[in-house]
């Protein structure tokens, strides 16, 4: 049976030819992503049920040992180490994300209120750290937090640390590093939202003698919360698996799951356990994102 030709955007073709051409165009890209991303993710899931053999390779026997180890059961009984690391990762990611959101508001309002001729410069100032390599941005804090510099001296003066010691490795250093790395990820989308803000609502709120909090809650928050949601996604996902910052600023005492995963592929050479850790990280990340999404949806429904 011969197909009838149709006119598609001015072109006289047979539908089948149109689809065939489209397929030829999209196939390389789709196959690339399927082969080098979807399939590897699948193999990650499979390998997490395998075992490490004596040479650091993979022993293909099906087992739940890695999952048991993940929640703390090993040859010597139960320990909370891995669960503590998991919990700490979630906590650090959540707190850093929250800090970034709170701090992004003044930043976004500041940027939006700059006169037009300076705006490009301020935007560039926010973009440069955004594009600077994470390794450089993180190790730079090693200089600032060194014992000779004001932050460490200040802390020593108030007897928070011993004089002559650096402020790293510590949990505070990890939070500072995380906050500095992710601030632009929240500030940029938030700035876009503040730029489009309907200021008449803010003025109306102040005219009606609403205080700062009520104005924020009822005039600003509803207009910016979708930008905050985007910022949360952009920050929370990478923050959960972050290993450069805790590795450089936190040391072994403040390990996060990212460091634990890296260890399995470096010194420990236990790929199956590393795979199951990654799987756990993926599940936690997805669960957190779904939690935020469902909350956002619930909010929307309550409003309508």
């Amino acid at each position: 049976m011969t197909e009838n030709e149709i006119v598609y955007h001015g072109e006289l073709v047979k539908p089948r030819a149109l689809y065939r051409r489209g397929l030829v165009f999209i196939l390389p890209g789709l196959l690339w992503i399927a082969f080098f991303l979807a399939l590897p993710c699948l193999s990650l899931g499979i390998v997490s049920f395998a075992q490490r053999n004596d040479y650091g390779g993979i022993d293909w026997t099906f087992t739940f040992d890695n999952m048991k180890r993940l929640v703390g059961f090993d040859l010597f009984g139960w320990s909370a180490d891995n669960l503590v690391i998991l919990g700490r990762s979630v906590m650090v990611a959540a707190i850093s994300t929250f800090l970034c959101i709170v701090l992004s508001y003044p930043l976004a309002f500041f940027l939006a209120s700059r006169p037009v001729r300076n705006k490009g410069m301020w935007m560039a100032l926010l973009l440069v750290p955004f594009w600077t390599n994470l390794v450089i941005r993180t190790y730079a804090w090693l200089i600032v937090l060194a014992p000779q510099f004001p932050p460490a001296r200040f802390a020593a003066y108030f007897e928070m640390v011993d004089p002559g010691t650096a402020l790293y490795p510590s949990m505070i250093a990890v939070y500072i590093g995380m906050m500095a790395s992710f601030l632009p990820f929240v500030a940029l989308p938030l700035y876009t939202a503040v730029e489009k803000l309907d200021w008449s609502l803010v003025e109306a709120s102040f005219d009606l003698r609403a205080g700062f909090w009520r104005t924020f809650r009822y005039a600003i928050w509803p207009q910016t919360k979708s930008a905050v949601a985007l910022g949360i996604t952009l920050t929370l996902v990478p923050a959960m698996g972050m290993f450069v910052v805790p590795d450089m600023l936190g040391g072994a005492k403040y390990m996060l799951i990212g460091n634990l995963i890296q260890e399995q592929f470096g010194t420990s050479r236990d790929w199956p356990f590393g795979a199951s850790l990654s799987l756990a990280l993926m599940v936690i990340t997805l669960a957190t994102l779904l939690f935020f999404n469902s909350k956002a949806r619930a909010n929307k429904e309550r409003r309508s």
């Binding site: 051409r21 890209g29 080098f36 991303l37 590897p40 990650l44 993979i58 594009w131 390599n133």
Partner: protein, 270 residues
């Protein structure tokens, strides 16, 4: 005109300082003559000169450029073709529901999971066939995979901005698909392709995690070199190297912004 509270401005300026003071410290100490400690020992360019005599640094710089250029070339071609295919064929809803998540997968997968998944997949293939020894080729594969999504995004935006009128006109004048694509669509699309390529290039320069996991013993890049050196102790050479990397990144970003602006202007004219 809206005004912001002085307290808001103060916080914002403080935050900018938090973002910049560490970076400025790196730049400052790259010119410091005293090698050890944080004392200022006078101005010198010594460490920069040293860098250009350090074989390892030069090799790492070479690797970084090779990796960025080759992965950008591959991902630009594959991503552009993908965007054109998605935009010019009448894909139904069902097909799109299958394509779109697959294309967006690299954007939403956390770096470390993607890196680990690649290492495991390469390991499995290697144990079966002996191919995919970790090194430059595996790093290129890793970079291309996350770049494709961003190139496709940039090119699709441009395709949407161009609209269908130009190609319709070409077909009305009896141009074949190939001829209209080459002479009408491609020249119009070029700024979008360029923007996508530059974005891909910066992403590659910026990446540490995927390179770190998929690198072999001979394919060290600058971020990996800096990371490894910091673990052995921070030296002025590393500050000098980081300063150069920062300057290079800023140059690329400025170029990217320029081309974006240029795009907007040409769009406004047409």
């Amino acid at each position: 005109m809206k005004h912001t509270h002085p307290l808001i401005n103060l916080t914002a300026v403080l935050l900018f300082m938090v973002l910049y003071i560490p970076l400025l410290c790196v730049v400052l100490f790259s010119f410091n003559a005293s090698r050890l400690g944080m004392q200022w020992g006078g101005f010198t360019l010594h460490w920069y000169v040293d860098l250009f005599h350090d074989g390892m640094v030069l090799r790492a710089a070479m690797n970084t450029i090779i990796l960025a250029v080759s992965s950008t070339l591959i991902s630009t071609v594959v991503g552009t073709v993908l965007a054109v295919g998605l935009q010019t064929a009448p894909w139904g809803k069902k097909a799109r529901r299958f394509f779109e998540p697959l294309i967006n997968l690299p954007v939403v997968t956390p770096d470390i999971i993607f890196a680990v998944a690649l290492v495991i997949a390469f390991g499995v293939i290697r144990s079966l066939t002996g191919l995919f020894e970790l090194g430059m080729p595996t790093m290129i594969v890793g970079h291309v995979t996350f770049q494709i999504a961003f190139v496709t995004l940039a090119v699709r935006n441009r395709l949407e901005a161009i609209g269908n009128e130009y190609s319709e006109a070409a077909f009305d004048l009896y141009a074949s698909f190939g001829y209209s694509f080459r002479t009408v669509i491609l020249p119009l699309l070029l700024p979008g392709i360029l923007a996508g390529a530059m974005l891909a290039f910066t992403l590659s320069l910026d990446d540490f995690i995927i390179s770190f996991f998929t690198a072999g013993p001979k394919s060290m890049t600058l971020p990996i070199f800096i990371y490894a050196s910091v673990h052995r102790g921070v030296t002025p050479e590393i500050h000098a190297l980081s300063t150069l990397v920062m300057v290079f990144t800023i140059l690329v970003v400025v170029l990217l912004r320029r081309s974006e602006k240029h795009n907007e202007q040409t769009e406004a004219k047409s």
